[in-house]
Amino acid sequence: MYDWIMDVLFWLAVVFLVGVYVSWRATRLDRLHVRVETARAALDAALVRRAAAALELAASRLLDPATSLVLATAAHEARTADAENREFAESDLSRALRVVFDQPDFESTLTAAGEAAKEVLAEVSTAAAKVAYARRFYNDAVAQTRIARRKPLIRVLPLAGRAPLPGFFEIDDDPPAI
């Protein structure tokens, strides 16, 4: 005679478990979005730092004026590019850095110029390596988030909220060889 109570309890339990599951999925997705944002901030910081290091090298009087100009222009373009041209400008800076570093005897000449020169050189190469790492980590986060957003549950329920679908950041980021 208390069958209906059992039924109600059963369905309440089902609703509760579904609720827990959906909330767990929502938490995971939210965590992925946070991860994308953090990775993006780290990538932006790495790019800014690389441009700054390139500018410092260009302004250091360690290079000949023509090389300085090439580097300074590329770094300036990268820093001032709008969202649409950012990827092109950053790729150009990567290429400019490689061309500059690939000059014959570039490294040995600069390391012979003293401690300050060595520091600037190390700063540029660290910054360039970090851009490559930061971009990989960002794109990795984006890829996983995009996969998660394609899952049926996430498409049916508005679990992603108003977070936009993140986009990949595609540039040539091969660091200069040292």
């Binding site: 767990w24 938490t27 995971r28 965590r31 992925l32 991860r35 953090t38 990775a39 901030a41 780290a42 910081a45 790495a46 660290t126 390596a129 970090k130 490559a132 790492y133 930061a134 990989r136 980590f137 794109n139 990795d140 986060a141 890829a143 996983q144 996969i147 998660a148």
Partner: protein
């Protein structure tokens, strides 16, 4: 930086991952970072001061072999406490897809987590089956590192996403000093003794190129009565001797499979270390070890060796598979002690680029990238 490293396999059982973690932890400490490693270990194990035990590992069948792994409530609780008390800036989990401490650590922590993937399989059933279960833990890894191109491919195929490549380092210091093997004068021999050429690698694997060296010895041997050949590595000794002319056989010494210690002594026993590989090498770890020992190198001109030898500056390159060129180059080196001395110094210098301190520098760059913002690692809430 405060770094927490998670080792999935029992500490005192020899293995590539454990060795990697030991070398990395020591290199990081050398750079002035604070390192704590948590690992499965037996209760009476003798652990270095920076290592914390998470309890005993249990042998379980996993991925086609028996692995000693740590899991269960006790391990989980110890990992959670270690994270809680560690105050780490970054957590570094090794082999996070293995059902051991790595997964537990990912579950128990929030914040910057770096994951290093070591293994490479063409197809892993375990990994394919486990991927959905592991997904929520692996999603928390904010920076992935692969130690080889093969490991990276495995990771991308089974788990999606991407990883940066930071290869293993060479513990150059471990090879730097050793006495030659008994009966070998080593590199300080006087000019009257005949000298020695060395080889290390699978003797029955054609891509390691032993046949090229043996053919070159047929040219060199008769012309240089004192010259000996020192061969080490797995393979059948009789098979090798069969390929040597009878009058030269007593000058070919075959050590077979050698211990780590004898291997290092072997590098110090020869005048020229020969790497006649015909291909298939991605890095040349043996070459890097021989260079760390300061052995003058004569290697075939494959891409990996050209890179390790700094384009031929730190060792002599000869055309792949050309035994006459090998014999000619070896002859020149044997006759020129000054050149050998110079190559030895150049080799030691060039191999520093592959030293653990360089690897640690790259790993620190990864730490700094993922810990951007500086929130650090915290114990995660109740949810997984």
């Amino acid at each position: 930086m405060r770094v927490g490293i998670v080792c999935p396999y029992t500490w005192d059982v020899p293995g590539g991952v454990q060795q990697h973690i030991r070398d990395l932890a020591e290199a990081l400490t050398g750079l002035g970072h604070h390192v704590s490693v948590i690992t499965p270990a037996d209760d009476d194990a003798d652990l270095p001061p920076y290592v914390v035990s998470a309890g005993r590992a249990v042998p379980v069948p996993y991925n086609g072999s028996v692995a000693r792994l740590a899991f269960g409530f006790l391990s989980a609780a110890r990992v959670r406490r270690w994270i809680n008390e560690g105050g780490f800036d970054v957590l570094h989990v090794h082999e996070p897809a293995a059902p051991s401490l790595g997964v537990l650590a990912c579950w128990a922590a929030d914040g910057p987590i770096v994951g290093t993937f070591h293994a490479s399989y063409t197809r892993s059933r375990a990994l394919s089956v486990a991927a959905p279960i592991l997904q929520s833990a692996l999603e928390k890894i904010t920076g992935r590192i692969a130690v080889s191109e093969a490991a990276r491919t495995t990771l991308v195929e089974h788990l999606g996403g991407d990883a940066v490549l930071i290869p293993n380092g060479v513990a150059t210091e471990r090879y730097a000093m050793a006495d030659p093997l008994p009966g070998w004068p080593g590199r300080d021999r006087n000019a009257a003794e005949g000298g020695a050429l060395g080889f290390l690698g699978r003797m029955d694997e054609p891509r390691k190129g032993l046949q090229v060296l043996l053919r070159a010895f047929e040219i060199l041997g008769p012309a240089r009565p004192g010259l000996r050949l020192l061969l080490a590595g797995p393979g059948d000794a009789d098979d090798v001797l069969e390929r040597v002319s009878p009058e030269l056989r007593d000058r070919v010494v075959i050590l077979g499979l050698v211990s780590e210690e004898d291997k290092i002594r072997a590098y110090h026993s020869v005048d020229v270390f020969v790497a006649p590989n015909t291909g298939g090498e991605s890095f040349g770890i043996v070459l890097a070890e021989a260079m760390s020992a300061g052995a003058p190198i004569l290697a075939s001109d494959i891409e990996a060796f050209d890179r390790v030898l700094a384009g031929g500056r730190a060792g002599v390159l000869f055309p792949v598979g050309d035994h006459e060129a090998l014999a000619a180059a070896a002859g020149e080196l044997l006759d020129d002690p000054a050149r050998r001395k110079q190559l030895s110094a150049e080799a030691r210098e060039a191999v520093r680029a592959f030293d653990w301190s360089s690897v640690a520098r790259d790993v620190v760059r990864v730490y700094e990238t993922v810990s951007f913002g500086g929130a650090g690692v915290v114990e995660s809430g109740a949810e997984g």
